[in-house]
């Protein structure tokens, strides 16, 4: 059984930043592996270690910069990686869902995995749609927001728990091949050891352009347009307890006593 993990390098924004028009300066960003994807990678690696999968392949859409993030994923136990990028993607403000799905579908059709895992959403754009749309495109089974999974012995179905709102979980069986979107907390993602980081340097990263995927730039033409960007207006009306910790703590203790929840 082969597992493909679709990951994204996400942009993390500094606490203080400036917006100019519809862009934010590069100096305010740091890049890292998407938090949800780190759980997807761990899940794949654990299936591999349990003997249920023989190969774990990372797939990503990202510029050359993202190779560092891919190396992190490889150091956590994935076998090799495929990175899709093209000049045509450089200037796109909003990479539309359908374009993203076509690129990933091309990789999946080439790799022919049994299971595709990906995070529930990317931490930067918080879109949350790629995995399920990809499954529909591939005619795979799918489940979104999975916090537990078990591949049955035949390898033909996966039993999943989906984390619904309000502390309720849905139990479902999904046909393989399948795409599952993985929720945080499903496992305890490992840190890469120094030795595994060194080993990851030798693992293969294949880079593919649109042309090499048999596509042209029309595939990433987006029906969506970024029109504006702003910091949300704050409506805070809080009363601030200021001063040294003993002063603020004293004011807070009086408040708690006044509200009748603490007896002092």
């Amino acid at each position: 059984m082969k597992i493909l993990v679709a990951v994204k390098e996400v942009a993390e924004l500094a606490e203080q930043f400036d917006i100019s028009g519809i862009t934010i300066g590069e100096e305010y960003f740091q890049y890292d592996l998407n938090e949800w994807d780190s759980y997807a990678i761990e899940e794949a690696v654990q299936l591999n270690e349990a003997g249920l999968a023989d190969e774990v392949v990372i797939a990503t859409i990202g510029p050359e910069r993202s190779e560092e993030t891919i190396r992190t994923a490889l150091a956590k136990g994935a076998d090799r990686a495929v990175r899709v990028w093209d000049e045509a993607l450089d200037d796109i403000e909003v990479l539309d869902l359908h374009g993203k799905v076509e690129l990933l579908a091309a990789v999946v059709e080439h790799e022919e995995p049994d299971i595709v895992l990906t995070g529930v959403q990317a931490g930067d754009d918080q879109f949350g749609a790629t995995g399920v749309a990809l499954a529909e495109r591939l005619e795979f089974g799918w489940a979104a927001v999975v916090n537990d999974l078990e591949v049955d012995s035949s390898g033909e179905t996966i039993s999943v728990r989906r984390e619904l709102e309000g502390g309720i979980e849905e139990l479902a069986n999904v046909d393989v091949p399948a795409v599952l979107t993985i929720q945080t907390g499903i496992n305890d993602p490992r840190y890469a050891s120094l030795r595994s980081i060194r080993q990851a340097q030798r693992k293969e990263i294949t880079t593919l352009s649109l042309e090499e995927l048999g596509m042209n730039s029309s595939v990433v033409e987006s029906p969506l347009e970024l029109l504006g960007m702003a910091e949300p207006e704050t409506e805070g009306t809080a009363t601030y307890f200021e001063g040294e910790p003993e002063e603020s703590a004293s004011a807070l203790a009086s408040l708690l006593e006044g509200a009748g929840v603490v007896e002092i």
Partner: protein, 322 residues
């Protein structure tokens, strides 16, 4: 043209988000001069239709293919319904189940999809407001497309319950069983060990700011001194530092205590959804930009490791050595 709202229900009840989508749908339909249609799939469709029959709704479409949600069935039915009634915009919930079928509808019908929407306007083209970077930035995303799918974040619109006189139409829609690749086998509630944080009067809740599992004993000491109930935001539960029944937020419990003391919690929207109706919200956070401060009634912007020991002393205790 018409606007189509797809309602959501679970375990025999319409979820609040369905009535929020109605509000958004009525607003958008009136801006565009379009009719508002509502779709109800599965469950007690006639009762749900009666509940959703609100002012401003022209037609309610019911399709009965079972009791609960199945994403394959929903995907096929919503796609077929779009072919039948040819809506301009389709309004759906950005809920866990919404995330499980709406992207597939968008993919199958090759329509633009905008998720996690917090505001919608139309000035010749559709403009949706959505957040990025953990809520630090609000973006306006537009599309010239005449048909698009929108997923609206729960809790952003008020609910609508004004009685209306919509026509209810029952549809027979064939489901292709070969394309149903999943089966829902049951539901489970998170184990609670007899503790129900939603009953608590005073909640001491911790988040990422606690940094390390060992630091929990500081907060546990405060809880012991004050008789409060310990709760947490998602990262603490994801790390297995506290059990899932202590989690406050969209995927955890909704709480409404007299006092909610948020310590080291930044206030992500999913967390706020579970505690915003507390009587008094107090935040201790060292980040003066933390979103929790926007909804707090009282706040201390300082290091929790300096403030909490002092608070323990104020309550007559002696902080543990951390």
């Amino acid at each position: 043209m018409s606007i189509l709202v797809v309602a959501e229900h679970r375990d025999g009840d319409l979820r609040d988000v369905s009535f929020e989508l109605l509000t958004a749908g009525v607003e958008l339909a009136s801006t565009l001069g379009d009719e508002l249609h509502v779709a109800i799939i599965n469950g007690d469709v006639d009762r749900f239709a009666a509940e959703l029959n609100s002012e401003g709704v022209s037609a309610i479409h019911t399709i009965d293919h079972g009791d609960e949600f199945n994403h394959d069935v929903y995907c096929q039915i919503v796609s077929a319904l779009c072919d039948r009634i040819d809506p301009s915009y389709v309004i759906t919930p950005n809920s866990v189940n919404g995330l499980d079928y709406v992207p597939a509808v968008a993919q199958g019908l090759d329509l633009p999809l905008i998720t996690n929407v917090v505001d919608v306007e139309h000035d010749g083209r559709l403009r949706a407001t959505r957040e990025m970077y953990g809520g630090k930035v609000e973006t306006s995303v537009g599309t010239e497309a005449e048909t698009a799918l929108l997923m609206l974040r729960p809790g952003e619109w008020p609910t609508t319950h004004e009685p209306g006189d919509a026509t209810v139409v029952s549809h027979e829609i064939e489901v292709d069983r070969d394309a149903v690749r999943s089966t829902v086998t049951g539901f489970d509630a998170v184990a609670a060990d007899g503790i129900d944080i939603s009953e608590a009067e005073f909640i001491v809740s911790i988040g990422r700011g606690i940094e390390d599992e060992d630091n929990l004993k500081l907060i546990e000491h405060l809880v012991d001194m004050t008789g409060g109930t310990l709760a947490a935001s998602r990262p603490i539960v994801d790390n297995d530092w506290l059990p899932a029944h202590r989690q406050v937020g969209q995927s955890g419990k909704t709480v409404t205590p007299t006092v909610y003391l948020a310590i080291g919690i930044s206030g992500a929207v999913q967390h706020v959804a579970g505690m915003k109706d507390s009587d008094i919200i107090v935040a201790i956070n060292n980040d003066s930009n933390a979103p929790i401060l926007d909804i707090a009634d009282y706040a201390i912007v300082d290091d929790l490791f300096d403030v909490v020991p002092e608070l323990i002393r104020e309550c007559g205790g002696e902080p543990p050595g951390v």
